[in-house]
Subunit: 485 residues, 2 copies
């Protein structure tokens, strides 16, 4: 064995060091332990609970949310076109399926598509954006379909990273952040520039903080990119129009490429909050901005009311991109041939749902409205409940699918975690998992101000189950506080 | 505009230089021109032909091949489970669909799966491999499902690349190669080490040539990886058992990580040829090899008899991988959450098709056999036809889906191409496209011995159309030769 081991080609020491540096907490040790516990339960091991509730990931269907019927009818028709003869399927579903199939090589979703995505779907995306943004034009040539938003975000970052040493590209990301960003930056060997969201102002973004972070970073790298997530993951914050204007002005002044992650664009629950796309605000600020700021914005089939994560559908729209660079982008995406065609089809339905005069409109609207209403209810419930617990404070869940409450941990618990070389909120979440079967992600996985502790919980469990979860976390928190004081 | 341009964040000069170096001929300038020509035809522009025939890419459905009915029935059932109540669907299709849905979060293919892939599908893959390899055990923990084989290949290469300067990882790839490899190596900044296949020996691989290439490369990099494609793309070669043994011995002696791209494992047509998996040969060489050689092998839903490219299904099996590195691999794939679930479902059907006692067996077998028989016929037809043309010589298409004939180009054509800064076979293919509407990929996109010229053509067009294509290429070749002499 030793002899073998000495001669291994690929070891921790000889692997890509950037990959080693990658961290991805949303599927980290907590989740691995949760999967183990589920197995133990199935094998009859006795636990203080009968099921693991996974509130660690924004995966709506896994939490019992039902897909939009119309979307799945079209997908079935595309998969098995013999069903086009079946009169159980509504005409509008058949129409959509025929249109998608006509745009596929050999009329099959089993053919590779153009690498940038099927042209008529890119046209539908452009029309969707135009409608969303009150008529501001969108060019299908600027749309790139992708394998989930993840793929497009990583591709865009890859294009942007260059230079060595002090010239290495710096990328500004919020703290707390969605850890895809830090993972991609580690993988690419780019410099991560943290700007902190203000927990005391409902996780608001302040340009003063952006400027502080940028100026500090200029000492050791070349800041070129600013990433924004709105509505926010894990914060649940929805940015105001003024805030977005400030960000755009800042990006322009500082010559930054703007990446706007807007995968939660339909997930807005709080009164007085509204989703404003960066693109719309950019154009409304006038040609001085709209004709020069380089930007990419991202959307996905995974979130909003549809929650179709498994289909890995998504797109990005690029604006003011140098045509030569765009050609390079097109070349780059062609290496992996194309995004999954069923994901492209799903995206087409998201951007081109039934119209008011079509037979499936009523059921589509009903299903969509029910999902969004339930999410809104759960966002309020979560905030209210957590704020009754001494030692937990929680900002309103204005949008997205998460709450990121702050937890006060007893000194003894912090000391114990440090002894064990663990983040204190990891200790907390691991204990919660072992004792209550609830799977959350510790705040340390997203980044947080030094000395503060949080966890991220999705608001996706069905209302009745969510109430149980909240109650259990409450009980656990009180017990934990007592145990360590 | 000039002012704008000066201040652009992202330009050719300031973008990722590795991405700039990426080339991907299968979807390069020829294909872009083909798409344009198609548009022109639709707009009524007169051409010497009425349609563009795309023989540039291994995309079976786009060439009219029909999907396997059973596979698509299951996909429709998974997409829209209400159909499980429909008695038009056979019981075995329903059984497969139920099994897949039961393994999905919330019984929906819209949920994210485990990042490594759905567990029961990984089990099915392992059983498939065991059956294929005559009982040699396969562990589902070693299976990673992927977004097409492309994704797994790039991921594996990424893991393997490290070091700077003379310590930079070198990766051996065949010339001619499938350009995913050179593209991924450019992107990762790894060193590409070319070994040449022997056109005079039916594109055979010779260990002497591997050794020559390796020793030369040791002067300037650290060779750590050997990539093999069998059956070969673009060569159509099928490796003999002896050849595979030699390669394995070489990899072990030289301490190389072996990557075996076996996406064409069912595509073998020539008499006396047989597919041998690297894993099977490795194990039959005894524990000295099987317990230590580090290896990954790749498969896909895109090729063989099913040709389901758009689903982006695939897997890799890793062998003798350091468990710590495997943990890193699992972490890395988790960043993109999961491969498309419908692609995973498609893969499940490929590795677990109807059994002889199930109702869909007969139709499955019939459809599968018909596709493979037609491909075999077309492989022979292509070889025979090309070898009747003076100035074209063509090895037998033993397997895969391509022919890579050598073309003799007149000196004047070579000179003209060089004047225009173009590869001579690019000039040839571009002219063929403009004059005959046939889209091929020039040999220069795959690599070839200095001073030789080739093109790659798929054998996928339906037989009658293929005959026309071959005839047109023949006529064109004669005309081209005359024109430039
Ligand atoms: C902010 C944000 N961006 C991007 C993604 C990626 O989603 P997908 O790749 O499924 O589209 C997520 C997923 O949770 C997210 O929360
Ligand atoms: C040799 C080889 N490997 C890998 C691939 C990638 O195929 P996919 O990503 O569709 O599975 C191809 C596609 O043509 C190929 O020819």
């Amino acid at each position: 064995l030793t002899k073998n081991h000495i001669s291994l080609v690929l070891t921790l020491d000889s692997m890509n060091p950037n990959v080693r540096r990658v961290e991805y907490a949303v599927r980290g040790p907590i989740v691995q332990r949760a999967v183990q516990i589920e197995k133990e339960l199935r094998e009859g091991v006795k636990k203080p609970f009968t099921e693991v509730i996974k509130a660690n990931i924004g995966d709506a269907h896994a939490m019992g949310q039902k897909p939009i019927t119309f979307f799945r009818q079209v997908l079935a028709l595309c998969s098995y076109p013999d069903l086009l003869e079946d009169n159980k399927f509504p005409e509008d579903a058949k129409k959509r399926a025929r249109r998608i199939l006509d745009a596929c090589g050999g009329h099959s979703i089993g053919a590779y598509s153009a690498s940038q995505g099927i042209e008529c779907i890119r046209q539908d995306v452009a029309r969707y954006i135009e409608k969303r943004d009150g008529g501001i034009p969108s060019n299908p040539d600027n749309i790139y379909l992708s394998t989930g938003a993840s793929d497009a975000i990583v591709t865009m970052l890859k294009l942007l990273v260059c230079g060595e040493g002090r010239d290495r590209t710096g990328v500004m990301i919020s703290i707390p952040q969605y850890p895809l960003y830090s993972a991609a930056l580690a993988d690419l060997g780019a410099v991560q520039i943290n700007y902190y969201l203000d927990e005391d102002k409902c996780w608001g973004l302040d340009v003063t903080e952006l400027r502080r972070a940028l100026n500090a970073a200029k000492q050791h790298c070349k800041p070129r990119v600013l990433c924004i997530i709105n509505p926010g993951n894990p914060t649940g914050q929805v940015q105001s129009r003024e805030c977005i204007e400030d960000v755009i002005r800042f990006a322009k002044e500082e010559n930054l490429f703007l990446m706007a992650d807007e995968v939660y664009q339909d997930n807005v629950y709080a009164k007085g909050c509204k989703f404003h796309s960066f693109k719309k605000v950019l154009f409304e600020m006038g040609p001085e901005y709209s004709s020069s700021l380089e930007m990419a914005s991202f959307h996905s089939t995974s979130k909003c009311y549809m929650g179709e994560c498994g289909f890995r559908g998504g797109y990005m729209e690029v604006l003011n991109m140098d045509p030569e660079v765009k050609a390079q982008l097109t070349k780059l995406v062609s290496v992996r041939l194309c995004p999954p065609v069923s994901g492209q089809a799903m995206l087409d339905l998201v951007v081109n749902p039934p119209l008011p005069d079509e037979p499936s409109y009523a059921s589509y609207l009903k299903e969509r409205t029910a999902v969004l209403a339930a999410l809104a209810e759960k966002s309020h419930l979560t905030e209210e409940m957590f704020n009754t617990v001494p030692g937990i404070t929680c900002n309103p869940v204005q949008g997205a699918m998460y709450t990121f409450p702050r937890i006060t941990l007893p000194q003894k618990a912090i000391a114990k975690a440090q002894e064990e070389g663990q983040a204190p909120d990891m200790l907390y979440c691991m204990k919660l998992l072992e004792e209550e079967g609830i799977c959350l992600v510790p705040g340390s996985g997203f980044g947080q101000k030094e000395g503060t502790f949080h966890f991220r919980m999705t608001i996706l469990p069905p209302t009745e189950k969510l109430k149980v979860v909240l109650q259990k976390i409450r009980d656990f928190h009180l017990r934990f506080t007592q145990e360590f004081s």
